[in-house]
């Protein structure tokens, strides 16, 4: 019973971190149809923003929840204006350019902070279920993931901004004819997606080693989840993260964490072979 409870918590934690990792990428992919290969580096920038500001004396919660998303959002605005906007409609070129960007950011951060692991202590304490111990921070991550999904859903569903975003997503030309500038919507989308990624980086900073190359450890999972989820931002991310997070954690429990990732990946490839449009393309065609 205690084991079941702790396993459930593990699975929830896996799903929650996948949701945090993927939502920003999914928003950018779903709205703009571009894959941002610098996603892992945005995550890393968020983590660095948290660590650096926390070590400079900023409250850890402010550093995670405010500084990280704002900083990465600002960086992404510069990136969008200087790089991405020239490449709309050129899918492959966007991937190449963002990959170049990812190398550039890794190089820059390595030059500034060096190739050493930085970290902040994990806030909140631990609790125990019977013989097993777990940290409260895990529960906090789960709550944040749920909150993030709810917030994105509410914005897309109930606000004027969300309406404009959905309209542009469905038909950019028609939206433009009705007086919306798609370029401006794309710019905002990119910044919001990147800010959410920065938030994820900040939230994951206390539980991971913060190094310039840390992005690579996360991007594989994030990409495969977004591709497996398909184009619907929320339904796709939530369903794919749920499925893959469950598979990953269960396989990791039965074998080792690395084989857990391999299992996740193999199941994702099979899923894409069966459902090339992703889970949401097959089951939730019209949802958000």
């Amino acid at each position: 019973m205690e084991l079941a409870a702790i396993l459930t918590l593990d699975v929830l934690n896996g799903v929650a971190s996948l949701i945090l990792l993927c939502t920003g990428l999914a928003i950018i992919f779903g709205m703009m149809r571009i894959i941002n290969l610098a996603h892992g580096e945005f995550l890393m920038l968020g983590a660095y923003a948290t660590v650096v500001s926390a070590n400079a004396g900023v409250n850890i919660w402010v550093a995670m929840l405010v500084v990280a998303p704002l900083f990465v959002g600002a960086v992404s605005l510069v990136v969008e204006r200087c790089l991405i906007r020239f490449l709309y409609g050129r899918l492959v070129d966007t991937m190449l350019a963002t990959w170049g960007l990812s190398l550039f950011i890794v190089g820059l951060v390595t030059t500034i902070y060096g190739n050493t692991i930085q970290g902040v202590p994990t806030p909140l304490g631990g609790f125990s279920i019977g013989a097993y111990r777990s940290s409260l921070y895990t529960l906090f991550l789960v709550a944040m993931a749920a909150l993030l999904l709810a917030a994105v859903w509410a914005v897309l569903r109930y606000t004027r901004l969300g309406l404009i975003a959905r309209a542009t997503m469905q038909n950019p030309n028609m939206a433009a004819a009705l007086g919306v500038s798609p370029n401006r919507v794309y710019m905002a989308t990119f910044a919001v997606g990147a800010a959410i990624t920065g938030l994820a980086g900040g939230l994951l900073a206390p539980v991971s080693g913060v190094v310039p190359t840390m992005g690579a450890a996360y991007v594989a999972k994030a990409f495969i989840t977004v591709v497996g989820g398909g184009s619907a931002i929320l339904a796709g991310t939530a369903s794919a993260a749920g499925l893959f997070g469950f598979i990953n954690q269960m396989a990791a429990y039965l074998t080792t964490p690395v084989f857990g990732e391999v299992t996740l990946f193999v199941s994702a490839i099979i899923l894409i072979r069966v459902l090339p449009q992703g889970i949401s393309g097959r089951f939730f065609g019209r949802s958000l």
Binding site: W99, L103, F104, G107, T110, T111, I224, I269, I272, R273
Partner: protein
């Protein structure tokens, strides 16, 4: 003599020059430089494999290092177990080609788009990196070969004369083998592209739907191109493992995957010589960056990739060809005009 005759003659001359260069190189340069060139040649074969599948098959693989690394590891494991490199070389080509077959089946028969293909190949590489990285324990061994995890596999037996394990090649002979392999792969790819299969592959790259409507199977053709590319990358991995007698999981790393993409982008997509030139240029540059402290090589490579995507999308070789073509056209027009005016002069007389 027509233009195509001239072009063929020029190609034959270039081929002869390349063979001669491989043959005389050991007499001309120091052993250190020769080792460096051996590495460049092995990497150039890897560049050719991506130049082939991306430039002519239209398959953008972000994870060509997966096959490169598999080739290197397959060679290392087999050579340690067999004690003879002949079968190991065959395995170094067959294992990655087989892996490409399985992976390609899922990708091409799933009819996924270019973007997904890039993402999946990238993910495969990352997962392989994590997987091999975690095999440090003593329980991870294949036969006599311990995989070594993040420590890598040291002291891999070198290539020996086929069927004769006692005769191990020295660095000079390894250069002949690597340089020769580069020329051979280049010529074979050229022949393949000139064949019916190669023309179908290019037709599918140009317009997949049209090729399918004409009765060609894009999935099968793309799969075949992908498998050939995987085998070539495996061969490059085998030669790389021989060069350093060492493999480690870093050959699956993102940094190397990105570098291959940069070689092909810089050299020029849709040519075979472009990726080779791009590979040598960038490798030379990275080696130079390694000798100083101010700039990190990732920083420079990132800037190069962004600059080429934004400003010089075609790459060096096609741009040079364009400029050369324009120059020739200009000269011809000049010559034509001179001839015309001479003719007019004669008529006037």
């Amino acid at each position: 003599m027509t233009g195509s005759h001239l072009a063929k003659l020029a190609q034959a001359a270039a081929l002869a020059a390349a063979i001669a260069a491989v043959a005389v190189m050991p007499q001309e340069v120091e052993i250190f430089d020769l080792m460096q060139y051996t590495l460049f040649a092995a990497m150039a074969i890897l560049a050719l494999s991506l130049g082939f599948i991306w430039g002519f098959g239209g398959i953008l693989s972000f994870g060509q290092t997966a096959f490169f690394g598999l080739g290197a590891y397959a060679y290392a494991v087999a050579a340690i177990n067999f004690g003879d490199s002949t079968g190991a070389v065959a395995l170094a080509v067959l294992v990655p080609a087989g892996f490409a077959l399985v992976l390609g089946y899922f990708m091409f028969y799933g009819r996924i788009s270019d973007v997904y293909l890039g993402v999946i190949t990238l993910t495969v590489t990352l997962i392989l990196f994590n997987l091999v990285n975690s095999t440090a324990g003593d329980e991870y061994r294949i036969g006599a070969a311990a995989l070594g995890g993040f420590n890598g596999m040291p002291s891999i037996p070198g290539l020996n004369a086929p069927g004769n394990p006692d005769y191990v090649l020295d660095p000079e002979e390894l250069w002949f083998v690597t340089g020769g392999a580069l020329i051979l792969v280049y010529v074979l790819l050229r022949l393949l592209l000139a064949s019916r299969f190669g023309r179908v592959a290019v037709a599918i790259r140009e317009n997949e739907t049209r090729a399918a409507l004409l009765g060609y199977d894009p999935r099968l053709t793309k799969l075949a191109v992908f498998v050939v590319g995987g085998g070539i990358a495996g061969l490059a991995g085998c030669l790389y493992a021989n060069w350093g007698a060492f493999v480690s999981p870093t050959i699956f790393s993102l940094a190397l995957s990105a570098e291959i993409i940069i070689w092909v982008t810089v050299g020029g997509l849709g040519t075979l010589i472009g990726p080779v030139i791009g590979c040598v240029l960038i490798q030379y540059l990275v080696a130079q960056i390694g000798t100083q402290q101010a700039f990190n090589s990732n920083l420079v490579l990132g800037v190069i990739l962004i600059a080429f995507v934004l400003l010089l999308r075609k790459g060096l070789v096609p741009t040079a060809q364009d400029l050369g073509g324009r120059l020739i056209a200009l000269l011809r027009r000049r010559a034509g005009r001179t001839a015309e005016s001479l003719g007019a002069l004669k008529e006037a007389e």
